[in-house]
Subunit: 407 residues, 4 copies
Amino acid sequence: MTTIKDSVHDHIEVEGVAETLLDTPEMQRLRRIKQLGTVQYVYPSANHTRFEHSLGVYHLASRALSHLGIEGDSAAHVEAAALLHDVGHGPYSHNIEDVTHRHTGKYHDDVAELVTRGNVGDVLEAEGLDPKRVANLVSGDGKFGQLVSGELDVDRMDYLVRDAHHTGVPYGTIDHERLIRELTFVDGELVLAEGNVQTAESLLLARALMNPTVYAHHVARISKAMLRRASERLLEEPDIDAEALRRMDDADLLVGLRLNPSTEAFAERLATRNLYKRAVWAELSDVPEAVLTADHEEISKLERAIADSADVDPTSVILDVPSRPSMKESTSRVMVNGEIRQLERESPLVQALRTAQEQQWRLGVYAPEDATERVGRAAANHLGLDIDGALVKDVRRGIHTTLDEFE
Amino acid sequence: MTTIKDSVHDHIEVEGVAETLLDTPEMQRLRRIKQLGTVQYVYPSANHTRFEHSLGVYHLASRALSHLGIEGDSAAHVEAAALLHDVGHGPYSHNIEDVTHRHTGKYHDDVAELVTRGNVGDVLEAEGLDPKRVANLVSGDGKFGQLVSGELDVDRMDYLVRDAHHTGVPYGTIDHERLIRELTFVDGELVLAEGNVQTAESLLLARALMNPTVYAHHVARISKAMLRRASERLLEEPDIDAEALRRMDDADLLVGLRLNPSTEAFAERLATRNLYKRAVWAELSDVPEAVLTADHEEISKLERAIADSADVDPTSVILDVPSRPSMKESTSRVMVNGEIRQLERESPLVQALRTAQEQQWRLGVYAPEDATERVGRAAANHLGLDIDGALVKDVRRGIHTTLDEFE
Amino acid sequence: MTTIKDSVHDHIEVEGVAETLLDTPEMQRLRRIKQLGTVQYVYPSANHTRFEHSLGVYHLASRALSHLGIEGDSAAHVEAAALLHDVGHGPYSHNIEDVTHRHTGKYHDDVAELVTRGNVGDVLEAEGLDPKRVANLVSGDGKFGQLVSGELDVDRMDYLVRDAHHTGVPYGTIDHERLIRELTFVDGELVLAEGNVQTAESLLLARALMNPTVYAHHVARISKAMLRRASERLLEEPDIDAEALRRMDDADLLVGLRLNPSTEAFAERLATRNLYKRAVWAELSDVPEAVLTADHEEISKLERAIADSADVDPTSVILDVPSRPSMKESTSRVMVNGEIRQLERESPLVQALRTAQEQQWRLGVYAPEDATERVGRAAANHLGLDIDGALVKDVRRGIHTTLDEFE
Amino acid sequence: MTTIKDSVHDHIEVEGVAETLLDTPEMQRLRRIKQLGTVQYVYPSANHTRFEHSLGVYHLASRALSHLGIEGDSAAHVEAAALLHDVGHGPYSHNIEDVTHRHTGKYHDDVAELVTRGNVGDVLEAEGLDPKRVANLVSGDGKFGQLVSGELDVDRMDYLVRDAHHTGVPYGTIDHERLIRELTFVDGELVLAEGNVQTAESLLLARALMNPTVYAHHVARISKAMLRRASERLLEEPDIDAEALRRMDDADLLVGLRLNPSTEAFAERLATRNLYKRAVWAELSDVPEAVLTADHEEISKLERAIADSADVDPTSVILDVPSRPSMKESTSRVMVNGEIRQLERESPLVQALRTAQEQQWRLGVYAPEDATERVGRAAANHLGLDIDGALVKDVRRGIHTTLDEFE
């Protein structure tokens, strides 16, 4: 048994197959992938990695399994899946996942190829585990898959607390120990035991507060959009394909962008935190349906059209249309009066948080600082926005920004 | 200048009049009054006092004044008021305030007599401060009174964080430093600056989560109700009047209850945590309006009637009808698009939290363990409740209880 | 199983006999005894109790037993002893123990009578445990007694961390989880496993830093000395004997001192933090051997003589001669190269800390503020001290005082 | 003014010239340099950067200046120096500094060229500051230089607390706020005020405990030695010179090592945590003076000789001879009886800690796992060590290792 000291959970005991898995290059690579990608441009201390998060998820999974009385083969598979659940992440975690997904059709939790073959597959088989079963658990399949990926999974319990510890934003500080103690299986479904409507709400609220303050902070969004744009460019190079890019780490991508003539300008900007600024920042209700449903092709076309009208270089316009807000936790299940109930049926907060999320949603158009006005006008025109309202809202209401660290 | 080490705010600097006020018997008495009264029956570490809380509120007031650029005479008065804001608390803080209020007509923030006369008044006058102005600030009067007692006051910023630190329940861990930095005065009103709708919400949510988990935990409510009942008895004794009781500390009251034959049984029960149990635990919608609006006299009558029907001693029935939920923070003011707006108009959460609070509201009837069934049936009858539903809800849904420490 | 939320260890699971023991009046009484007695005069947040500490010690004992693979009967006895280890504490913990010891011949860990009889004895027997064996474990007897009371016991692991949490002084923040994981039994002796010389040192250092800053802070010492003096007086009253005093709680003693004419002046001073001040504060090397070895009788005589010379009331002089410094942890055992070694043989720090403790040692003479000069001179005379040096050292060097909170 | 949220100090206010300096590429580069280099191989959460540390040091400097009453020009220079004090760090902080120093003659605090020219120099001059004066302050010159680099500097106050927060090892948790409040200037020297011998000791002890547990953990030393060896190789490449290497960030170096045929094997090992193991681990007293005083040339020669004898590739042997222990804090100055005294004259701990450090000192010889035995014997031979003793000590006594994370 190995004991690893963690800044969040103190001592983490790693045993059995997990101990061997830690040594694989696939897991070690996660040491070089930041958990929160470009969020460190807003919160300078947010440099924690997918590696320590994976250890944390493994730890919480072990504790949950022990509380649930699950042992043996099932427990070993769930623990392996918990440790491996992020092994498919590309550089900068979720930041450029959309880009690689367009080229490969795969998301980070599509880990079958990583888990069933190569080092990881070998370790799993050598230890008598079924790699395919582990891959399915990572995808959240089956009864025990809910523990790894689901509304009440240990993944989010770890990341909320960990992100709070490293950003300094206290909103994520949930009572994860209580959550784990109250998990139970009823008719094959993972639920919180009686008397825990509020426990479930607390998880939901923590996410609702961390979201605009940390994960979707406008500076994090802008730098992410720049990174995404640069990565698209990089993929146009003949020697780099999306599968290779997915297996890079943060350092590879950063240096790759620097060394490539078509991306070095972006690399330079990111390296010096010389970021684009918001040219437009518009609310959901002000954005035409056609823009909301535009696909990547249409977005690119709009960007080019805006750049043309504003008389700027095409790389100087980034149109950032987030998907409509969703709230996975809303379907968390809690026992109420002996029945399994979905949280959204029990808690008046769920609908309110949904409304709040829609209010916080923003479409962004980003451009170099000296071009924001021109780009803003051109964008408003092409997107069918009321430009004055959009910009006023930018300055005045905005989402909650804990700090703007030199904007 | 004196520097005091605090478990929550680390070093607290106390200067000027505040330093002298700390030495008065009135302030020193707060060392012997627990901040959370009977909550320690649920959370054994919750033994912090009104004294350290008062220091914390003083500290946050000083920081807020400094951020707001308020100095001199106004600042000195606000700081004195912050330090003195709880000086009127009786033993066990809010726990028996209803009782003393019925006899004296005064609440704990009615501090005029304490602040304008005696040691405190003398100190204030000696230092050139106006005691009446300080007393008014404690009541929340005037522009600066909002800092001491209002929707965005530093009182709740301190107690949320402090209660979280001492109970171990993380929900109260707000970003108090951000709140203080974003306070500003607009047209004489204390508001949060632009971009802080979510900051205001976070304060509201912290309270909403701490409330059922800590402040209104059923064990804390039961023991509080027993303490209240015992205090009423004590006041029937010839040598104790309500004004004297208000000036006692926790030790006085505890020993007083022990030494008095009519209250010693309650004292014994409290000392050994041999508490009454819930005979009824009913939801708001199940309680007839007449019961909800019953005054003290009518409640007492109902208790006697229930005791009669259940054939138990009158002291064996306590009917606990909390007032309807309110939410002071809902009227917090935030700047939005250059206008002062009430939070409840901006945030969909406010209405949802109000609904949640109504769902969590419970009427309780408490009795010695072996009498709960008889008393429950009698109470349901007299109160016009559907007994089965009421009891089922007790067991099944309940409010969120972080822990039930031997129930 | 009951789960209790603790501010230090988060969730504490209480099972079996421990759960029933918690309900005894003897254990519940510890809720009303402050862990650090008069230290709260220096650190206002230090209001934690022997009850939460006892829970913490029980929790750490359980964890240690589980790491050591000890189960069944032995584990149950150790857990009961851990929970009960402080049940013999009188009001204000160690503060007046010298006084009651003089009258009863018993210290707080002489728990045989409490543990073998009455409620506690009944519970233990009903659960099939041997009360005498539990009492012996509390005294540190036998192999497993070392876990409860010894150089490496879980008692000090809990109190260092807990006292740090509640005073705000970080020095006590040890890595208790590591200590527990490294405990092992070799030849019946409790030792730290190989590679832990520094782990053992860290425990020693934490105590060495907490001692002058917290436990022996001069304000805590003065108020403790006043409390002791008052308690002696109280014991001269016909209706109070030392055995009864030992079973009081903090509130009883406080009110007792208030209600008794011969002690009400002390009670008033303590209630208003109107403490005596240092008239003399002398280093070890300046104090004659005869004073260092004086017994209670001789100390009293000296006090009266000093009072006479200074022409003050006898109660106005308190002579406080601490015992010579000792360092229990110095004999902690650590495995080194396969042998059990005493820490003091392995670590150069032990001797240095011993020297440091001697340097920090101070004899104190305390008196009302306006009498300090007169009393100081008289005391120097009677004690054979060089008065100027003694007083200069008071002001100049002193021990480390984290804060002097209005001196 | 900009406010930045920090995981350690919460809100950090950055004003004036500091705000502009933060935007320079030189400062932004520190975002990509880990504070503790290879320590993350031992403590996976230790991914914090020189950037956040620099902000922390700036913050503590500002607070110290404010307590000391230093304003205006002097304060602005000190604040700039505090922010810039680590701007000269190469990739992996101190890890490869010996290597670049051999080629450039410069250490990381030789910042004159970076601070007096280029972006940083321009900003300083534009804001009316003297770049040369700032560079001198970084070197610790002059009265105020002591605040930036000296025995009581704010640099170590930040890093101890920050490293504790991110590794999870509590030993570094000092009372930095107290240290800052007690700093004062006497006769131009930075000293701690009267009554702070123990405050000074606490700083010393924190370092003494963090050192073997964190900074000099054997796994961190081994990986550092491998990184150093690889960097030496890299510098033999024609297109890389030491000045360029010094200006790289962690990503540059990592990718550089990967892409270069002569270093890719090391890069692969580091990327997969496939580290060398200890072939020898010898105590100070067992190492001949000639080895202790060997220069780089001689060390290289010894390594080659050992490799020859063990019949392994020359890259397979790393001889790691740390310099003899020193203890900068031992000369901290504290006021005692009105005089400035060096801590080592006042505190018996200083000499003891020096002895402890010598006991913890180890010479290491590292080799691939399958070659440790052969290399160990050859090394013992060439270095004149008693091989059996050396290896036994490796296994048995060792330094304190908080965790061995898969060794």
